[in-house]
Amino acid sequence: MERANHKSLFAQSVSPIKTFYSMVSSNRYSKLGFYLFLAYLVLTFVGPLIAPYAPLSTHGPMGQAPSSSHLLGTTIYGQDVFSQVLVGAGPTLGVGIAVGFLATLISVFVGVVAGLKDGSWLASVLVFLTYIFLLVPGILVVILFGAFFLGAGMALSYVMIIAALSLTGWAWGARTLRSQALVESKRDHILSSKLIGESTLSIVTRQIIRNNFSLILSNFFFTTIYGLTGLTFVEFFGLGSETAVNWGTMLYWVQAAAAYITGEWWWYVPVSVLLAGLAFSFALMNFGLDQIANPTLSGKTLRKLTKPKSSQPSLSGTDGR
């Protein structure tokens, strides 16, 4: 007898490409998020090309409000804010995505192996590591790490920031993927593949990762936001290189000059909004992905659930059971 096949709800995550495509085209939240992200991407590439001034050059008037020659005004030090925003977009987005990508890679490896090989010493070690890293407040550690370097007279390079953030940001994803892999590995279709003679690697890549792709993608978005936040914090505390130009460093200089007291709003408001907007674009895509992975979350059904039920026969509605 046919019972409701719950897996059919997840059938849309049939292949990575299809998942991404449907996420981007079928759901209005993720569509919006994706277009927003594309806009930022364009900014990343086009920005440095159209920046009117060198971002760190202090030849402009100091602390001036937006004008025709300085679209976003100038910093206290005479630098063009607009150029800083344009040039800073790249590193900001770059670090965020790099962290997202790297951390997700680690979490996939750790999570899936820990789940699939449950019971082995390797899995126990990985689980132990996962929980340790889960308890550690990632950004705090990175800041301490940076402070240590600062004390030694060195600044954190982008590579070090990316590495540090990735190493502290993979644990949550690994935990979810492990529980997925645990459940998945006990399923009949995985047993079937084992019996047919599929290798473990093949099962992991062709089936487990593929079946959980929307989860992995979601993890990527989530971790990218973590990367952006992390970068902002690290730079805000002045732990990065002094000559680096990204939206985080801009905020560092803002707080160093106490611009929020002296009122140079054009220096910190646009960049904060842009930063938040970037994080928001990933959040939107993530939200849209949730709705695809679980259609019961979609707005349509929510309305149906709150409709009051009457016992009078009425005009027919949609899909019966």
Partner: protein
């Protein structure tokens, strides 16, 4: 020498029960079970749930390692010391049909993938595309083109089971262990699968161990039968004989309880 033999198999599991004071029980799932299959036979393994049928099947598939005893394929022994490679080689010849067609197929892969993969794994020397279509025809999923790109959730229970059978068939195993293959299917679809088994046995001369608690189906399909009760084989012999003159109490119980339109409950 038989094609497939299980010799004196013993398998125990430990299960813990109780919430505060946890006690461990030793559950003997297989209690010195010996069984054999020869080429081209359909043999029945009957018994209720929890009496060891699935455990026996899994031991015969080398999914579980027996505590004692051995499994032999064409005389070669496989047991606790078999390596991973040995097990893989064994599984080219002995395959397993799972009970639930709603979970035995990967929901994110097409019918074509399910049948192509085994062929790729055994490095099939021929036109894989053609062979996939051929097999789909053999399991009556015709025309094959209609089914190649379908996903499991687009298929009915009966079709899914056929896809699974096709998947197993592509390896051309000598032995197929079928674990209640029709119990999760609609009534009108079952006979199709049963007849498919008959046809495939004729075509490939495969040995089939048909595991079920339904004696009516076992009577229809099999020439020999084993009856399992609490981990032991309590009766065995030619199907007709055993079901006409059952000796063991449990066999008689199974006969009385057999789902059968003409077996009216008063």
């Amino acid at each position: 020498m038989h094609l497939l033999e299980g010799n004196d198999l013993v398998k125990t599991f430990t299960s813990t029960s109780g919430t505060l004071r946890r006690t461990q029980h030793l559950v003997t799932a297989l209690d010195h079970v010996s069984i054999y299959l020869d080429k081209g036979e359909v043999v029945g393994l009957a018994g209720g749930s929890g009496h060891g049928k699935t455990t026996l099947a899994r031991v015969l598939m080398l999914i579980y390692k027996p505590d004692m005893g051995s499994v032999s394929l064409n005389g070669e022994k496989y047991g606790t010391e078999s390596s991973g490679r040995d097990v893989r080689a064994y599984r080219r010849h002995v395959q397993y049909i799972l009970q639930d067609p709603y979970s035995s197929l990967d929901p994110t892969h097409s019918v074509e993938w399910h049948i192509r993969r085994p062929l790729e794994i055994v490095k099939f020397k021929g036109d894989i595309e053609f062979r996939v279509k051929e097999i789909l025809n053999e399991v009556s999923l015709s025309p094959p083109a209609d089914f190649l790109n379908k996903l499991p959730h687009q298929l009915s229970g009966g079709q899914r089971q056929r896809v699974y059978i096709a998947r197993v068939l592509s390896l051309e195993p000598e032995v197929i262990l079928a674990d209640e293959p029709v119990s999760n299917l609609d009534a009108s679809v079952r006979s199709g699968i049963l007849d498919l088994f008959k046809q495939l046995v004729k075509q490939y001369n495969t040995a089939v161990l048909y595991i079920s608690h339904d004696l009516s189906t076992i009577y229809y399909l099999t020439s020999r039968i084993y009856v399992m009760y609490q981990g032991k084989i309590v009766e065995s012999g030619p199907t007709d004989e055993v079901l006409t003159n059952p000796q063991h109490e449990y066999t008689k119980l199974l006969i009385a309880a057999a789902p059968d339109p003409f077996n009216r409950i008063s």
